[in-house]
Symmetry: C2
Subunit: 324 residues, 2 copies
């Protein structure tokens, strides 16, 4: 075999060659585009149509205490194994839309308008998918953290989904909207969450309905208790015909760290031990039953199967299909 040596490869990829420098005086027939493809991905689930919608992502230097119960170097090691940028982690955000035929149901509302444009992409991606915010029949909130609820509000403070029934988990609403609980909050993260729920949901007590665990929130979409991340954190089982899937919400934050290492605690967990217990039970089931799982913080298109891998789990992303 000629050509394929390490030295040859590194030489070829070390930088621009002579031809490149010469070629730089010409211009390609098409300019550099700078535009990404729209971030939505569709698949059939029985008679239902599921659309994963990307709300963007944030990449940031790993804070010292982001993974609260392991050394920072260990957390960075896992990020490095996932080829994240050196010293950083990337957290994507991906709401799930389900058209049951009778209801257009959006699970979680994304981060809402953002000055830097890194998030809030749910709205342009909905448009690219042919959906108007006023088409949404039901907006189901999995829990009341900012990246799941702030998209409820338009930039001018209106309701972004004017025709939607908006519903939140009853225990989640009770916890975060309690002024007693707010007064007892000790961590800066939780204090911020209490302030944000009031900013976004204040005055909406009569506009936002409450749902209970183990009940359908919409046709074929059942609320499953997965508390720990927050007191009322909820996942969803979706069923149509013989097909089914799970929408896990935040049972893990990014799978590269917390699915691979289900005993690691992310700083956003309200009750880390309960969250850890929930993770194991949820993924033991998902792996055993080979169920498709959509994860809010999985890389877009944010759905895959879970396999056991050592003491943790590994995500096997769905294979992109152009055909529905």
């Amino acid at each position: 075999m000629t050509g394929l040596s390490r030295r040859s490869l590194l030489t070829h990829t070390a930088g621009l060659g002579v031809a490149a420098l010469m070629g730089a005086q010409a211009r390609a027939n098409a300019p550099i585009s700078g535009h990404q493809a729209p971030g939505f991905y569709r698949f059939k689930l029985g008679d239902y149509e599921v659309t994963i919608l990307n709300d963007g992502a944030r990449t940031f230097p790993l804070p010292d205490t982001w993974v609260t119960n392991v050394a920072k170097d260990q957390a960075l090691g896992a990020a490095g194994e996932a080829f994240m940028p050196a010293g950083k982690v990337t957290v994507p955000f991906n709401p799930t839309l389900i058209n049951t035929g009778s209801k257009l149901v959006l699970i979680d509302a994304g981060n809402g308008p953002s000055p830097d444009g890194a998030v809030g992409l749910l709205f342009p991606n909905l448009a690219a998918a042919g959906i108007k915010p006023e088409d949404i029949d039901v907006l189901v909130l999995s829990h009341l953290h900012p990246d799941h609820i702030n998209g409820i509000r338009t930039a001018d403070g209106g309701i972004a989904f004017p025709n939607a029934e908006i519903i939140a988990p009853e225990p989640e609403w009770a916890f975060w909207m309690s002024d007693d609980n707010m007064a007892k909050a000790t961590t800066p993260i939780d204090k911020n969450y209490f302030v944000n729920t009031r900013k976004i949901l204040g005055g909406l007590n009569d506009r936002v309905g409450r749902y209970s665990w183990d009940k359908e929130v919409a046709p074929g979409i059942t609320a499953i208790a997965t508390p720990g991340h927050t007191p009322g954190h909820t996942s969803f089982a979706i069923a149509s015909g013989n097909s089914r899937m799970l929408v896990q919400s935040d049972v893990t934050n990014i799978p590269e760290l917390f699915l691979r290492n289900p005993d690691w605690h992310v700083a956003y967990d309200h009750d880390p031990d309960m969250a850890q217990q929930t993770r194991h039970r949820f993924y033991d089931m998902a792996a055993t039953e080979k169920m498709l799982v959509a994860g809010y913080h999985f890389s877009f298109p944010s759905a895959g199967h879970v396999e056991k891998a050592g003491a943790g789990y590994r995500l096997v992303p769905v294979a992109w299909s152009a055909a529905l």
Copy 2:
């Protein structure tokens, strides 16, 4: 923790509930769409802009001899671990487009027009990405198998990329266009390849240029010898500034089988032992150097990093980024 038991989960996902049956009489605000997102994905590589373009995929029952040197059950086991449909494999096709600023370079032309619509999606996906076929400055063929060259021809037999310089690897052209070699072909697969090269490339001896290994085929894009899959099979090292990547072409067919198990031979390999040797050398380097690799038969968006895993390798797909 309430709610999350295996029995509860299975009950919830066993089928449509009462509410679903009731809801079926209503209609959602938006109809079932049936449309997938366009299959292109962009990223920057130094000053270059890379666009992966999906040409579709084919899913078919695994033939008995698709993996020639392991038992069919073993091959199906690997497909099952990748959650492919039972008894089947899915093979996607993904050409790579590179805009160097001075040249718009397409590597491989896809399957071309297809009556069933499963492949040939390069053209609608180019359009979605804002590129016209006549914008392509250089079409580089990695090798002369049908799924890489048939897209050269329009449905009426014209040249689909009228303004492109079209170039093929010199040893690849010499091998497949030799009538002596055609007369000596023994397997039905190779005989078909000889017929197809004549159907697609016949009469184009003066239209299609030849390139040599270890030389740039376009600015910053160097042809790397990776023979075995075919006699002139070529991969590409792409470099811009300090950034670099590899376009592997068919060093493996689908990674779920042949990257995980680099000693397995796909029926399409002309010299399976040489192809196996090439795989090991290519991936040992790619893993050691942590290089980004685009693979024609990797699931869209068809780029990722390669890590060593046991006796083989595992693909870590790129994390989708809305920002370029």
